[in-house]
Symmetry: C2
Subunit: 399 residues, 2 copies
């Protein structure tokens, strides 16, 4: 059938892989490579031993159940209602859908709400995997810039008011944003929710890093401030295990039900063993301790990266100083060829994700070139060595 | 936000849950209920102890890896290439996508290929979860009837030839079909593949029961006969564990790649721990033994159901006698009110899935009323009791 050309759907024709996967493929064969590319926590924070004991306990106590179908909506809602109440999110079991990672939460919400001619509003730079989901579902994405307080809500208001059609939702990661590391200020949160309520536009609040705060006080979630106008997506990927793929969405009941109908056909259910591993972990009261372990290890690595950047990078380069999460955003002098820099970096055995991956191609030039660095993966020495290599690649590129 | 009406996408508006979920919900509070409704194997065949040991071994040997991200395409392709070769399916690693159950395989293929104005051809009665996926993606589904040899290919040829547009694919479960239990004959398989190749139309071959044969010789898969014209979907749900949600698709490279791009946004990857549990199981050579265990238990339960049907059901009722899988299709006298029968059955503490769930609403009346019975779940005594209750409900309905 080599001669038969496959006729893909419009959605499939717009589906693209992120650069991250290509960078991983290009770098996987380079020995002694230091990667700041993939977004994962310090390996030391994954509670392997604890999860091993928990898996054992589940399979001993309720193995047959754990190895059979879950309800499509999930089976750990009770635990999640309690968990969310500690973050002042008052919800009910039928407003929660357990998903195969936070990524599936955004996917199901987008599929439930958006036809191709619909509009999505998103902060930029933006998490590339969800950007690809949005591009797959709609033809028009309205970009809103960010500053050190997060999404610039005045710009949002102006742009939305000038549209001749109401957008389906406004996408944001308010806490320790991927890729910028920026946290939306309280004032902006209030302003954003007020505008969304006034216009009747959903906010899709993506919060995978929310509980990974290393200093300061937690700010109220948009869900707490906005209630049913907010679709709240989260996962235990960054806080417990990326590989278990357990996340959840809190949404108005009618939307939650629709997402369950779609999920039935999408993967029927999130594996029950994986759901139970998370709920046992929470019910055993191991959460606080786990967040503390992450805070300790990530704080020292964050300091190490910031120190290394200051030592090795030229003065005209700037970067964010996040108070949580796993990302730093390094802004480069205007005109830096970010793709050439990536090539040089790979030659120097170091990796990052270039800003091009976080923008729509048509708006990339409106923003300064930058690098996303995932900081928690390596110990202090490797971090210093990696940043040195990056600085060398940058000098070689700038000439 | 109670006053805000949610504006769903066209796809979401067409998304519906199957009756199965509603039947489960209605019956879950009835004590001493006997359900032939949900499609699961005998609980005794789930290798709980073995999977417990395997999980333990994985988490001991490569726990950190197992709890971190998998590649989006999956990480057990090598094992699957070997596994498939034993069924005469010659394939390569980059033609395989590991999916979160077979359900996700069909979902990704449909999403990759179909716009709303496209056409899908399917045998009827058909597996309701995939029927809902098809309805969500396309406005036109062409039904093809089945007889004891499977999909009636002559009817298919006639219908496809009369269309003014080429369908995107032809959907079939050739082995021990859900819901009918029927297996497509070799002659039909050859005819179907020949037609698909001639027209350049994909066949989506869904094969979750393929290796659950209790008598006779395995027939060649459509994939073996048709190569790249066939998209081959399978899973280990029915054979090892429904809850682990590990399946796979074998597809032409270009389509496999597109499915990986979409899966990236849909759930990023199938949980690696779950994938490894399946691949360890296969690599330890436990497969044959597992199939033999299923064959033994299911055979005696199949006999028990057939015996009970003969003893308790009126003469005008007929049923299929499957040689594998988990379903029997019981055809009732024309005019039997299948929904009234379901109500009566629930009153009599017994459940089944009514034929209405396996047809499009607009074609339901063209087919005789029927029940799908999942036969392997209970031991012989309960089976007899359940069929007695069903017969009573039927007498009460027929009056």
């Amino acid at each position: 059938m080599k001669e038969m050309e496959i006729s893909f759907s419009e959605m499939a024709r717009r589906a693209r892989q992120t650069e991250i996967i290509k960078i991983l493929a290009r770098s996987s064969k380079i020995p002694d490579f230091i990667s700041f590319a993939i977004g994962i926590p310090a390996p030391e924070t994954v509670p392997v031993e604890t999860l091993k004991k928990i898996a054992d306990e589940i399979l001993e106590r309720e193995g047959l159940r754990a190895l059979q179908y879950s309800d499509t909506k999930g089976n750990i809602q009770k635990t999640l209602v309690d968990f969310l109440s500690k973050d002042n999110i008052r919800t009910q079991e039928d407003e929660i859908v357990v998903t195969t990672g936070a990524i599936q939460g955004t996917f199901l919400a987008t599929l439930a709400l958006c036809d191709p001619e619909d509009i999505i509003v998103s902060e930029f730079p933006v998490y590339p995997i969800n950007l690809q989901t949005f591009r797959m579902h709609v033809r028009k994405i309205i970009p809103v810039s960010m500053d050190e307080e997060g999404m610039i809500v005045d710009e949002l208001v102006e742009k939305v008011n000038s549209l001749d059609k109401k957008p389906k939702f406004i996408y944001t990661i308010p806490d320790f944003q991927n890729p910028s590391g920026i946290t939306m200020s309280l004032e902006r949160r209030k302003k954003l929710v007020e505008f969304a309520l006034e216009k009747g536009i959903f906010i899709l609040e993506d919060t995978p890093y929310r509980y990974m705060r290393y200093e300061g006080e937690r700010l109220p979630s948009l869900k707490e401030l906005g209630g049913d106008i907010v679709i709240h997506v989260n996962s235990f990927s960054k806080t417990i295990s990326t590989g278990l793929r357990v996340g959840y969405v809190v949404a108005p009941r009618e939307l939650a039900e629709k997402m369950v109908s779609i999920k039935q056909g999408a993967d029927f259910s999130t594996p029950l063993l994986n759901q139970l591993m998370i709920s046992y972990f929470l019910e055993k009261g191991l959460w606080e301790e786990q967040m503390e372990r992450i805070r300790k290890i990530h704080t020292s690595r964050l300091r190490a990266v910031l120190k290394a950047l200051k030592e090795h990078f030229p003065e005209e380069v700037t970067w964010t100083e996040p108070k949580g999460g796993t990302f730093i955003w390094v802004t480069l002098p205007g005109g830096t060829d970010i793709r050439a820099l990536l090539d040089k970096a790979l030659e120097n055995k170091v990796g990052f994700v270039p800003s091009s991956d976080f923008y729509l191609p048509e708006i990339e030039r409106d923003y300064p070139p930058a690098m996303r660095l995932n900081f928690p993966y390596y110990g202090e020495e490797k971090i210093d060595e990696g940043i040195k290599r990056l600085a060398k690649a940058l000098r070689e590129t700038l000439g």
